[in-house]
Structures are given as C-alpha cells and as structure tokens.
C-alpha cells in the first residue's frame, strides 16, 4: 500500500505520477473522444440520429494534397485533377442536401470548417459550389459564424485569398509547422513563400489567422522551436496551435540524440506556455493559445467541447453525433484511400460501409470529463444537470488524484479548473478518464489516435 503524508495514495494518482516521472506520452489522442481506435463496423441510421439535433457544426473534409508529408497520417491523397475534385465536391453538396432534410427543426449551423488534406489544393470553384448549396437549402447560419479553412502556405496566392474572402471564409489556419529552413527540408516542406507577406495579404482581407506548428520534429531542439514562436510574435496571429509530432507510438526508453524525449517536450511546454502568456495569449487547451481581447478561435472545437454535434461531410470526415460517432475511414489503412474516395463519389453515402461507436451514457460521461479537462474547466453543475448524477461520485478516484497532484483546483462555483501542470499533462490525465472499454481497445492497437 502506498502511503503519502498519512493518506493512501490512490492508484490513478500513482499511475499519473509515474507516467509523468517517466515521461510517458500516449500520443495525440485527445482531439476527440472516443478516438478512432475504438471504432468498429456499425450500421448508421442517419435519419433517426439527426432528426432530434438542432444545432450542428459542419466539418468538410477535403482530402487532397500536392504531396504527402512524411509525418502525416490524415486521410488524404496526392495529385488529383480538378475534375475529380469538383465531382467530389458535388457529391458533398448532395450529401449535405440529404442531411438537411433530416433535421425536424430547421438546423442551425454553428460553425463551418474546411480541413484536410489541403483545402486550398481545390479550385475556388469548389467553394463557390459549397456555399451556393448552403445558401439554398433549409438551414440557418449562426450570426457568429466564422467559417474557417486549413491552408498550406506553400500553395496560396492573393487571388485565392480574395476568392475565399468573397465566399465568406473569415479565418485561415496556416500549416507553417516550422520556420527553420533546414527542419522544413527534413519534413519535405517547400520553402517558397514569405510568411510575413502572406499575413499582410490575409490582413488586407480581414482574415483572422491561426498558425499550426509542430514540436518534436527530428532535429528540432527546444531552442529552434522557440525561435519559430518568436518569429510569429512579429505579427501576433489570433491563435497558435502547437501539436506534438504524433504518428507512431512514442517511446520513453529508446532515445536517439536527434529527437526530443517526451520529458523534454513536457519541459518545452512549460517554457512556451509562459512565453506566450507574457506575449498576451491565454492557454485555451494544451495545444492552443489564443490572443487576448479578440474573439477569433477554432469555433468548432469549442462548440464540440460544449456538446454540440459535428456533422462530417465528405469521404472519411468523422461525425460526432449525440447518439453515434462514425466515419467511412477504415482504421489506419492508407492504401484504401483512393478506392474509398472513388466509392464515395460513385455511391449514395447512405450505402457506404461505416466504422464508429454507438455512444452510451458511460461514454458520454467520459467525454464530458475529457473535454472539460481539455478546455480547462469541468463544470460539475452542468454535469449534474445533464446526467442527474454527481461528477465527484462518478469519478471519485480520478478527482481525488488530480486534486492531490495539483493538476486542477476546485472553485466555489463547483468547477474544476486546470492548472499549468495540468496543461502539461493533459493527455495523460485524459486517458485516465477513458472508459474501461476504450482502455481495453487502446491496448489492442499499436497505433496512437492520430487520424
């Protein structure tokens, strides 16, 4: 039995402490819960599961890139011609029309996000068609809508940005990854653009900007990473997303001198956290920092944390519906991508084969906890309202552990607020809130949850 200052240290506390001590990192599995490794083949009753939903996020998956980056596990293919992409987009519009007929009340679209892949690999025509469809079907668009698009900076010019501005895109997320020229070469990214010039163009059209950077690229030292961040401070993007390089399972034991260990990455997080706070940002989650005194952020994620469903459109887009999470993507099998895309284009989406998970009360409770921790606040009153049971009873051992370790503090309003150390170990904490079923499934897969 473990004794700590006269108390019995609970098992979760012990596990978390040891994991932190050893520098364990479960991979970037927290972007959604349950992660894709928990998906099995399922039947989806589309009409039934969407009929009672009123507010939805739209996620458009645009799975096309110029070339495939060595570290990337997203569902995307390289070098598609324009006609193929337009056919794909027409299919997406068809899919959206069918879905819009399912909502019993007129659906209210809370957020729109184009991800990929490289959405800017598609011609502007694609987006004219998508927004035309949205404007003609029976849905409402939320007043605060800030349509957002992921963009590869190597492939965009002023004309394209102007076009996006005209269709209504208000936020651009640039996949910068690193500004170090040598590191960029090692991850096969071109060095053909000038970030500051590009930013100037986006500002000219009033676009809000997010910058994606990766930490843990082979050869990247903490110092090199901070240099990239410092250069971003020259123009202060509204948000900065910092993703630890994921892909294969990270090892705590085997080290090569070129790669940061997980422990070094945890230390780096502490440094960059303090740096960005000093520069006027706040920490929204362990992977996102938001500039203060402005409202732009990744709306879709925030709404997902708040419990709003996401309708995924296009091949391999995931839908996070209250009743069911699903996607057509076969687990971790990149060789299937082109044939899945062909199938998506040629068939009715309702006749495709789906993978996913039917959500039960237990999974919803775990999801509530995990998303609360991810966003930095578990609102235990809201939990009680939603589940008619007490958070502290349902997760007694967990709550005790994370309070004892100083990863959260409790407020008088019955909230658990994450601390800086809690941010450092968010991914570890979240895995402790997985259901037994999801934990078991994770052990049986040797991949992390990156898409």
């Amino acid at each position: 039995m473990l004794i700590k200052k006269g108390n019995i240290m609970n098992k979760i506390e012990k596990v978390l402490k040891t994991q932190a001590k050893l520098g364990y990192w479960p991979g970037f599995t927290m972007a959604m819960y349950p992660s894709q490794f928990a998906y099995d083949p399922i039947n989806v009753d589309f009409e039934k599961i969407w009929s009672d939903r009123n507010e939805v996020n739209l996620y458009y998956h645009i799975p096309f890139c110029k070339k495939i980056c060595p570290y990337c596990g997203f569902f995307t293919i390289a070098q598609s011609d324009k006609d193929y992409i337009i056919k794909y987009v027409d299919k997406i519009n068809e899919q959206m029309k069918v879905y819009s007929g399912y909502f019993h009340n007129k659906g209210l679209i809370k957020s729109i996000c184009f991800g990929g892949g490289t959405p800017n690999y598609a011609p502007l025509e694609a987006y004219y068609r998508i927004f035309n469809t949205l404007n003609t079907i029976n849905i409402d668009l939320d007043d605060k809508l800030e349509p957002s698009m992921e963009i590869s900076p190597e492939l965009v010019d002023e004309e394209y940005i102007l076009g996006l501005n005209k269709v209504g895109i208000k936020r651009i997320s640039l996949g910068v990854q690193s500004l170090d020229l040598d590191l960029r070469k090692t991850i096969n990214r071109d060095n053909n653009y000038n970030l500051l010039q590009l930013v100037e163009v986006m500002r000219k059209y009033d676009m809000n900007i997010n910058i994606d950077v990766i930490n843990g690229i082979v050869g990247q030292t903490p110092k090199l990473f901070m240099k990239t961040l410092e250069r971003l401070m020259e123009f202060k993007p509204e948000t900065i997303s910092i993703y630890p390089l994921a892909g294969k399972e990270s090892s705590i034991l085997k080290k090569d001198n070129n790669t940061m260990t997980n422990k070094e990455k945890y230390d780096l997080f502490r440094v960059l956290h303090d740096y960005l706070l000093e520069e006027g940002y706040y920490c929204e989650s362990n992977v996102k920092f938001v500039l203060k005194n402005q409202t732009s952020t990744h709306q879709q994620k925030i709404y997902e944390y708040q419990g709003i469903d996401t309708l995924g459109l296009g091949c391999a887009a995931r839908s996070y519906n209250y009743h069911t999470h699903y996607s057509v993507e076969e687990r971790f099998n990149p060789t299937m991508r082109k044939s899945l895309l062909d199938e998506y284009i040629s068939k009715d989406f309702r006749n495709l084969k789906y993978y996913g998970i039917h959500m039960n009360e237990q999974e919803r409770k775990c999801r509530f906890a995990i998303y609360g921790i991810f966003i930095g606040c578990v609102d235990m009153n809201k939990y009680f309202k939603q589940f008619k049971s007490s958070f502290k009873t349902d997760f007694a051992v967990h709550v005790e552990a994370i309070l004892n370790l100083g990863y959260v503090r409790e407020t008088q309003n019955n909230e658990l607020i994450i601390t800086k150390e809690g941010r450092v170990y968010t991914d570890l904490i979240c895995t402790q809130f997985w259901s037994d079923k999801v934990k078991e499934l994770y052990k049986n897969t040797d991949k992390t949850g990156v898409k």
Binding site: M1, L2, Y24, S251
Partner: protein, 81 residues
Amino acid sequence: MNVKNKIYNLVILKSKIKKEKTDMKDSDDLIYDLGLGSLSLVELIVDIECEFDIEIDEDDIEQIYKFGDLVNYVTEKVNFR
C-alpha cells in the same frame, strides 16, 4: 515467493508474448522479446512499485532493457530499503 517469480507474474500480465516461466531468459528484452509497449511498461512499473513498495528512479529506468536487469534492479532496491 521470491522477487524473480513475483516479477515474472507481473510481467506476464502485461506482455503480449506469453512465455512460460521456464522459457523466460534474463536476456529477454522487455520490448522486443516480450512485446511490452510504452503504456504496458509504465503500468508494469507502477505494479512493481506497488507490489514491492519501492520507487523506481526515473534515471534508472533508462538502463533497464531486459528481464534480468529488472529483476536485479528490484532485488537491490528491496534489499536496501
């Protein structure tokens, strides 16, 4: 039960490759021969810490690659407790 037997029982609970006690060699690599992943390795360490009421130092863990290393390390810790 001696330390080695206890550790064998804990390892076998977590390893993907289930070796008989008599087949387990000191030179068996925890990852390559016994199929432990990062997560199961951490769980194993927690189990060992609980079972023997010891703390495994973070710097030491990097030296422990093989079943025999683990047994020796824990034996030493238990003796010098």
